[in-house]
Symmetry: C3
Subunit: 312 residues, 3 copies
């Protein structure tokens, strides 16, 4: 594997899920693999879970970690040929190559801006690192995908030891702010690579990118979609058609015990209680959100292990 | 020891002082004890001394350290049952459990706000970590106490090799801003556990929480209180009765050479020169403030050593 | 070596260049030298290259690294005898000594303010650390010099394996903002210690400090100065005479392929493309700016190696 920009970079998705579970069982099995290797984690946006879990994963493998928070402080130029006599002080071509001088692997977080669909789809920051850096790049959530979360989600479902081909529902939920599509996109991609029946449920106007959802049932009736589910993954996203807009916040879409039935409840966190999900659900034994957050470490560790192996 | 939220969590205060001095003499005596263990240091407020000394202490024990500055960037919800459709984006219940997924010990700094006494006394952030995280919590200064500083202060006094049962004075000093009570509270608590004669001196209206000062002489005459002192610990705090208010800044309360006499001068730093203490005092041989700051490392190291021992 | 505040602190400049190249060839040759030693990196200004390269250098030597960003959050007092009842909350005397309690080496970045020449020339922050800390201090760019960059530049030129006594040109270039003199000063100092012919070219009004340039040709005709150069180092700086002012931004001073001739192009980065240098130059094979950035690690590592040796 050269980079981990998307779940599709994994040569064998199920083997990677198994590797992560193996690492969870024995986190220090490869603690010398990353010796004398450095990961630079570059954050263009804030992070809690991704920062801590990826740092922990790297250290479990014996790597050195350098964290660089560049939100708001680094005016990068992305266009070719610009006369840089205004706000931008450094071209992404130099920035990416320079960081690569000090790191063996670079992990990057650069969210969608949710204002310009075409700009977001270009993934300018992530792709500039991949194009220029010359070292493996790990996507810590870009505009379009969050493949460390998607892998985590598959690990967490596998751990539940459900019946063969369980029913998995991805349900939209209301939220007061405009949120990206990356988590939902990567969850769908991960489920398509897994032996599950996936159903997406969201209100009209909230269908995700048809290239991502192709071949998957989308049901606008949440109650019907959730029936007999084994896993219900709840997540808000802003509209894809009316790009980045919050077009409704109907509280009837909140996940409740009644809709949950016997299913396990999943969410990537952070979550707004009693908006996205009622307390009775997240506080119940059916909620696996904390284990899910914990699995972030082992998803990252599996990815770094694969990258380090090809580096050595 | 399960947590270090307060000096009273220590099973044997004097033995911990002795352990710290032992570690000062041989800082790497337990450098394998923290191997494969991670401390997450979470700062809801700025830190210099506490950050560097606690990080150093953890590394002396072989631990990995992750520092998380969350001041101003994390809108946490504390109430149960809230419909989180406004500013708060994550509930403290999830936040605490999630961080615990990535750390073996969590250290937390969350100052008093000094606006609402009842709210401060609830220690909402610290107590939420203790209640939910499921891993040992270290208090790096909360609303009510700063037990790493209190332990440091006892270590520093012990090092002075004073006469049996020395006279220790805690003297209020003027300051232009409203400061918390945590350092003074923990100093008093530490001295009550030590073989010293403690006198507190402060202007009228500046008596600290009577539950903390119970049994200790409070003298409003600073000159009289300081007579024949062996140690004078100077510190400003805002009013406890007129909660959080600066009710006077009388420069006559500044510590001077005359009042100091033959005593050693202590302060937790940072200190405003020629307001809290005159240059002649802090620049004299009687000032031990730098050694005191240095002892922060060994106080933290003793505490972490005790927590790690019970963890392994 | 006690401190690395300036290139002149090096006992043998050429031997240090050779040591850096040796470390580049075998970065882990001394990976136990820094064991149980901590460097505290204190940034009063933002940093990307210096932060990452110095941290990497320290880790290559087995050191622990603590990074402290204090820009905007630390109101330090520098004057003696001040009554600190206004904005400043800590005196530099305490601040420097306290940090030294937790570190074996302290690296400091504190830029010129470019408003008051006399104040900048006092190097108040750097010199306070040297005076008070009692541990070795490394200059990570001060008002007057950037000796880690100067050493890097000499390393990079040595790697080019040029003819004996190559012609090296330092050329001013336009820039919309007011920039410090530190990089240019240290480049000149490094070249004076090297076996090269140095020519400086800048517009009238942009002559650097005559104490630095003494003995070096300054030519106001850029085209003539660049003729037959082996190395052209391009850098903007604000006026020294009209201190800190941008007195012109004439785009004719931008470095072009025509002026470059057969020379190698160097710049410390970040660089504004098509203002300081045209794309055709920086994107050509003659540009060595990325290798130059990479050499920052080995310059820092050579300096830390020398300091650690004298520490042990």
């Amino acid at each position: 594997m050269n980079h981990y920009s998307d779940l599709k970079d994994l040569k064998d998705f199920q083997a990677t899920v198994d590797l992560a579970l193996e690492l969870k069982n024995d986190p220090y099995a490869y603690e010398d693999l990353g010796k004398r290797k450095t990961i630079a984690m570059v954050f263009f946006n804030n992070s809690l879970r991704t920062r801590l879990s990826t740092e922990k994963a790297a250290r479990n493998l014996g790597m050195d970690v350098m964290v660089l928070n560049v939100s708001n402080s680094w005016n990068l130029e992305f266009e070719d040929g610009t006369i840089m006599n205004l706000d931008t002080a450094e071209h992404i071509k130099e920035a990416t190559q320079v960081i690569a001088q000090y790191a063996d692997i670079i992990a990057v977080r650069a969210f969608a801006n949710l204002k310009d669909k075409i700009e977001d789809q270009q993934e300018k920051i992530l792709n500039a690192f991949i194009k220029n850096a010359g070292v493996p790049i790990v996507n810590m959530e870009s505009a379009l995908s969050h493949p460390l979360q998607g892998l985590t989600d598959a690990i967490t479902i596998k751990e539940q030891e459900l019946k063969k081909r369980p029913k998995v529902v991805l349900s939209w939920a209301p939220h007061p702010r405009s949120l990206p599509h990356a988590v939902a996109n990567s969850f769908i991609t991960a489920m398509k690579m897994s032996d599950v029946d996936l159903v997406i449920t969201n209100p009209r106007g909230y269908d995700l990118d048809p290239e991502i959802t192709a071949g998957t049932e989308i049901n606008n009736d949440q109650i019907e979609a959730c029936k007999n589910a084994d896993i219900i993954y709840v997540k808000n996203w802003s509209s894809f058609d009316s790009y980045g807009k919050v077009i409704q916040q109907d509280i009837d879409w909140m996940m409740t015990q009644e809709k949950l039935g016997h299913a396990k409840f999943m969410h990537c966190l952070p979550v707004r209680r009693n908006v996205v999900v009622e307390d009775a659900v997240i506080d119940s034994d059916q909620s696996v959100v904390i284990e899910q957050a914990g699995n972030r470490t082992f998803a990252a560790q599996a990815v770094l292990k694969l990258l380090l192996k090809d580096l050595n």
